[in-house]
Amino acid sequence: MALLEIRDVVKTFGDFTAVNHVSLAVEAGEFFTLLGPSGCGKTTLLRMLAGFEQPDSGEILLDGKNMAGVPPEKRPVHTVFQSYALFPHMTVAQNIAFPLKMAGVAAAEVPKRVDEVLEDVRLQQFARRYPHELSGGQRQRVAIARALVNRPRLLLLDEPLSALDAKLREQMQIELINLQKEVGITFVYVTHDQGEALALSHRIAVMSQGQVEQLDAPETIYSYPKSRFVADFIGQCNLLDATITDVQPGRMKVEIEGVGTAEALPVPGAQVGGKGTLTLRPEKIKLGASLPQGGVDEVHFKGRVHDCLYLGDVTIYIVELDNGTLVETMLPNSGSGKAKFFDDNDLVELAWRFDAGHFVLA
């Protein structure tokens, strides 16, 4: 049985449906991420798990127990808030001792437990500091320590890294992964940052307009998006509108209007005449002045460089196809000593393995 089960949960605020018939299950020990743009319902779902909101319909089961009507203070669920919400009048140690005291842990045991968790987040020497005497990253770690000290069944994290700068964020991501492995507590993580979600999670639920669009492992979500929305939201992706012209076992043909025919892996439900989108990651596209033609498994097109973006390690080339569609491609700048291979308006050729693209039915 899954640790957490969400069954057909609906939540509306007035006319607005924040969460629309969501069902999912989270296994014990999992690092599970709810990913989506703002307003997709991920925070509302999190607040329902914490108990701050009640679902209009549907059930939330934790360890098989229905959580309906259980107030936040009675749930074995703790939250790391986006603003950290550390108590400013308490020291780090007092902040962390707070949930222990609320749970009635024996006074003699409290300091030991506080020390243990301070060690986990490497903040032993800051125990007597007040929150305003800490840096953003340290505050973040105190908030996590405070939420973990009681060993909740479920730890909820509401965009916990969004207030940190990019470098610190990456460091904290590594710490979070290690911490989660170490303590073995189930994490439910909310973010709008797809990079963060891919880096941290065992599984990701991509949400849009109150619904789960796709629930899969990060690599599946990245490589095989189930919908145009997921493809577009996760990472950079080229979206080419196409129509199916031929379906064979193991292979199908799609017509990209004004450009030509491409081969792709067939998808369930594919039928000749079916419309959809060919999704193609920039790094999977080969780019060259002239590429060998006629490869059995390759799709091959011509284009013209429209824009170049030099990013240091790679250069992004935006290539315009015959029908005016812009396709993003990239070339690493390694080994050549050159910063750029092409300039604007250079004629180039594009190619990709037929199974690099992923067709999504409209």
């Binding site: 914490a50 701050f52 107030p71 400013p88 009048h89 007092q94």
Partner: protein
């Protein structure tokens, strides 16, 4: 650099001058008066006199005869007669009780205002300060009518008391009336600083406390209350100190036994015209308040170290 400090003086100069002229110097005059004798017809025994021959003003006091002009008798009187000490204790009790009642009444109100939508909030704050638009004495006289034996309030109360077999009570001219008056007049001074404090509280802290297992009672006493203490202290200073020196309310609403220290000081200056003893009472009141404030500050800083 120099022009900057000049600007500083230009800005802070006038208010500083005002305070020196109308607060510091009068306070020193009063402190000095406490060591002088009362004059034959009240006031102070003069230290100067006009020379009958020349008409010039001459100083009467000198190193030989200063004992005829300066004395500790006034302080002696204060410490020897227990009635003054008792009056101090009673005044502190009234002011303390007023402060506590004000905190209890003002806290929920300030909380309600701080949690209202922005528009309602401004209206509610306006309503709190609205009484200031009418004269203080008129508002106290209104209480005389409300608490008077002929008012609907008194008559209904006594009717209800009669139903359960309790003797009718007289509300006006009692300690009860004095406390009601003191609380009524000072309540806004507690509401406003508390509101200013509570309004700034981060609601996420209460969510966090609840999430971490605190029930409503614990959330208040562990989070809201300690964070609101600066507001509570500000309100206490604004209520306790003026309430301590209040004389108009005991005069109008109090009976013979509800006199406060302020009444005695007023009596000494205006009725008995014993300025030196009035000065002693004022100084002792000021010193006691300062001592209490110092003690509170010391206790506060100790408490902080312990945390």
């Amino acid at each position: 650099m120099k022009s900057k400090s000049l600007a500083k003086w230009l800005i802070s100069g006038p208010p500083l001058l005002y305070l020196v002229l109308f607060f510091a110097i009068p306070s020193l005059i009063m402190a000095f008066a406490a060591f002088r004798f009362p004059g034959d017809y009240g006031g102070l025994l003069p230290l100067t006199a006009a020379n009958p021959d020349t008409g010039a003003t001459e100083l009467l006091i000198n190193f030989g005869n200063w004992r005829d002009f300066l004395t500790l008798e006034n302080f002696q009187r204060f410490f020897e007669e227990p009635i003054y000490f008792e009056l101090f204790v009673k005044s502190f009790w009234y002011a303390g009780l007023t402060t506590v009642i004000c905190i209890v009444l003002a806290y929920p109100l300030a909380w309600l205002i701080a949690r209202s939508p922005k528009k309602t909030r401004d209206l509610l704050v306006l309503l709190v300060i609205l009484p200031f638009w009418s004269n203080f004495l008129i508002r106290v006289y209104a209480w005389m009518i409300i608490l008077g034996p002929q008012s609907y309030f008194s008559r209904s109360l006594n009717y209800l008391l009669g139903l359960v077999g309790i003797e009718p009570v007289s509300l006006l001219f009692s300690q009860f009336a004095v406390i009601v008056g003191l609380v009524y007049v000072h309540l806004p001074f507690m509401v406003l600083p508390l509101y200013a404090n509570l309004e700034k509280h981060d609601m996420a802290l209460l969510d966090a406390a609840q999430d971490l297992g605190a029930n409503a009672w614990q959330r208040f006493w562990k989070v809201t209350w300690p964070l609101s203490l600066p507001g509570v202290w500000a309100g206490t200073a604004l209520v306790f100190i003026p309430a301590l020196g209040m004389f108009a309310i005991p005069d109008l609403l109090g009976g013979t036994n509800s006199m406060m220290i302020g009444n005695l000081i007023k009596q000494q200056y205006l009725d008995s015209r014993d300025w030196p003893f009035g000065s002693v009472l004022s100084i002792m009141l000021t010193l006691t308040v300062l001592l209490l404030a110092a003690l509170a500050g010391w206790a506060g800083s100790r408490g902080k170290d312990k945390r």
